[in-house]
Symmetry: C3
Subunit: 344 residues, 3 copies
């Protein structure tokens, strides 16, 4: 069985020597035997999920072993071999994709997502919150939240600026990796661990949580909550909302299929199939009662939002005269009836 | 009568010697007689609300006087005694909580809120806008808005970066204080003067204005407008809105009680009691006509939003078939009738 | 025919010598003959739209020629004559306002908008997207997106901070110009090319795209999409939306007249006249069916949103009992009928 992932990293520790964050410039999924052998021989790795600390000398030895085995990783080791003394070096190996046991492991998993090496829901993220410290992300780097007040006082006294840009367990993605072919107007709104497909634009009002994102080209001006995946060619309008969990509807994961459009200030609490549209300002939840209309705009049945979960080619509107939420389809009444009563 | 508040600070002035901002590392509410005596003896304070400017030598004298009187404040004075020449030192005393008369006084009041030393609406903020200069908050510190163009030109010429992160009367809170036990994903959305209870998380779409905030643990993904207070255990969904003033309903202050949930993209223009829910996407204002239903879901009465202000255990929805805004309760029709017609 | 615009600038190029961004401290609309003569004589300009590169020596020569011709521009040239070697100097002349042909031309046009020298829709922006490179906007300046990974690696190794604040074709406006009399709480939400009228406040949830903005005093807590113009005295409530194009209604440009109020979390997909109000949470699109009521609140007619485009003194609400979207007016039924059936 092949090893799951491996990466050489450099990061920050607090004054107690606890990890605050780790940067992996070039993580590897399913590393080669040659790469693993170099790790075993120079770092004494004998198996399992490990975050191995290195000093500069050992990084140089490791680099030597990598030159023949894996020139790309050797180049990373060469750069990291020049790290300043206060920077901390690490080689993290995930033999299996199991529950994380250390901060460097969690950071590697978040990198794998943002480097597009695994897709959302494609990696074990159980228990990561407990392993991610709450960090003050500043213009001077990651600072332990307990070490912040003293650092702030000293900065104000000197007239140096210590800007605290975020106080969070997750850093913003772009300080670690900017995947190819994307635009992100305000990077403070995309967490490390987001997955952005080639051709994705995240506008200023867009947001993408970890373990979530877009599989292809999309214009995102709304919020992609944790766990939500948006298919190729779908657009999220300004300020629209996707529910992180299906309120009142169990554990169904919200997703948006391909070629969908969620209007501005709208929202979805059910997964959508392909080519669905939700009109601007309308929020569909699992419990929303909806009149389903056939291709002739005749009422076929009144169902709940959850009954339409994952179905394609639907247009959701609220009739602005009657106030009724309706689902328009391009199917005959018979076909619709069959579909609504099938177990899916 | 005890003195209201006191703090030792360091700040920035423009080229005319006018205050742009003041940082108080450790403000004190109801300072001790020992501390006040040190201020009187070394700084010549004779009473009233004062912002006393100090030079470095006087700060050292003040520090000496504080060593016995108040070791914690002596430590602050010691740090500030090392300030760079261009930094301005100040000791601000608020004998009474009256209308502010200077920029350092306003900054002290905003600090008292964010340090959790006073609660929202617990301090006199009359007239503060006129005393807060509009400042360019940059990566090089606070810059007078009139001095900015020249500074920008010089920075572009040298290839130095002068980032203007905000042009506002209020700085962001976290550059002055990060209260314990909070997370703030995007700190540009919390103003100095916000009050965040222990256990509060402000997500990327959350926002907290001054004189507003959370009293306990809350997940805030919506906007807490100026003056709005959210009780312990209440959550604000993504993009939801709280009105800063009660439109069309007089001067009632909007508040959210405990254990409430305001859904994503919803909004409230009335104060909520405890354990209330507003469904995602629904905006309740003071003028919204609402059908009140009893525990059997029978219509009891149609009222306006303002008639339900501050009441507990309500669920607000818009019926997605009839389009009617309804308020579901767990009370009998008789109890509801009595409550609706009581003067409260 | 007078020349359209001219500006002296300094900017950034990538390693290939391609422009990433240009800063023009003092752009000129309709430059004087004296200024143009100085450009012709010292820079060899013979006409047309040109972005002329200069070295330091030539900038000094140009400055000498400007001293008599245009002291204000001479001052700019003097400052730019002190630029660091890696900074690139340019003089850009737009003889006519035609389709852009270079990055410096596009940057000049965006500056003209944000300096209030031209109004939105008052300048030719055809084809600008292709001429604007996608740039990593960092705390170290503009970096070519392809040169970013290496720069990030080196920064992490050294423990220097390379913050990527935006990955976008447009920079934020305030790093180039802060127009007089405005407040912008979170500057990452206003793009270069926005036009902000004197007296405008953009709150944290506000947003202004390029070729869009406010003509006078406004409180903006919602989103002004590309091409949308808001008249003097109009307010946009928190999280409200303006559609960039008229969905389903052709090429009508969305605009908001004077003294309008769009409520929180509301939205408009039609242009509004003066003194219109859209209640909080209501989204009006071109296709929304709306009951028009006269001054006695009697139904006159049911129309579509697009039929009310640009009309003044309208109040849009959704009846919270019937769920019907209604437009309240202060006109008699006869006057309304005439207006609705006029061709406008």
């Amino acid at each position: 069985m092949s090893t799951f992932a491996l990466a050489i990293g450099v990061g920050t520790q607090n004054k107690k020597g606890e990890w605050l964050e780790v940067y992996y410039p070039k993580p590897v999924i399913n590393p080669s035997d040659e790469l693993l052998n170099a790790v075993r021989e120079t770092l004494g790795y004998v198996g399992g999920n490990q975050a191995l600390s290195l000093n500069i000398a050992l990084m140089h030895t490791f680099q030597d072993a990598l030159e023949a085995a894996d020139p790309a990783q050797a180049a990373v080791a060469r750069e990291l071999g020049q790290a300043e003394m206060h920077r901390k070096l690490v080689v993290t190996i995930l033999e299996e994709d199991t529950t994380s046991t250390s901060t460097p492991e969690v950071y590697l998993k978040l990198h794998l997502l943002s480097h597009r090496l695994v897709k959302p829901h494609g990696i074990n993220l159980t228990g990561i919150f407990a392993l991610l410290p709450n960090v003050a992300w500043t213009n001077k780097g990651a600072i332990d939240i307990n070490e912040l007040p003293e650092a702030q006082l000293k900065a104000h006294v000197k007239g140096e600026i210590l800007s605290v840009n975020s106080v969070d367990k997750f850093p913003r993605m772009t300080d670690y990796v900017v995947p190819t072919g994307v635009r992100i107007a305000d990077t403070s709104r995309v967490r490390l661990g987001a997955y952005l497909g080639e051709g994705t634009t995240i506008m200023h009002e867009g947001f993408v949580n970890f373990n979530a994102g877009t599989l292809g080209s999309s214009m995102i001006e709304g919020r992609i909550s944790a766990g939500v995946v948006v298919g190729n060619g779908s657009d999220l309008g300004g300020g629209c909302s996707t529910m992180g969990t299906l309120s009142g509807g169990g554990n169904i994961i919200i997703a948006v299929g391909e070629q969908c459009l969620i209007g501005a200030n709208a929202g979805v609490g059910i997964p959508l199939g392909d080519r669905c549209t939700v009109e601007a300002g309308l929020y569909i939840t699992a419990g929303t009662k909806i009149q389903v209309l056939d291709e002739n705009k005749e009422l076929v049945e009144t169902v709940k939002g959850r009954d339409l979960a994952g179905k394609s080619d639907l247009l959701f509107i609220r009739d602005s005269i009657s106030g009724t939420v309706k689902c328009l389809t391009n199917k005959s009444a018979i076909a619709l009836n069959e579909e609504l009563h099938a177990n899916n």
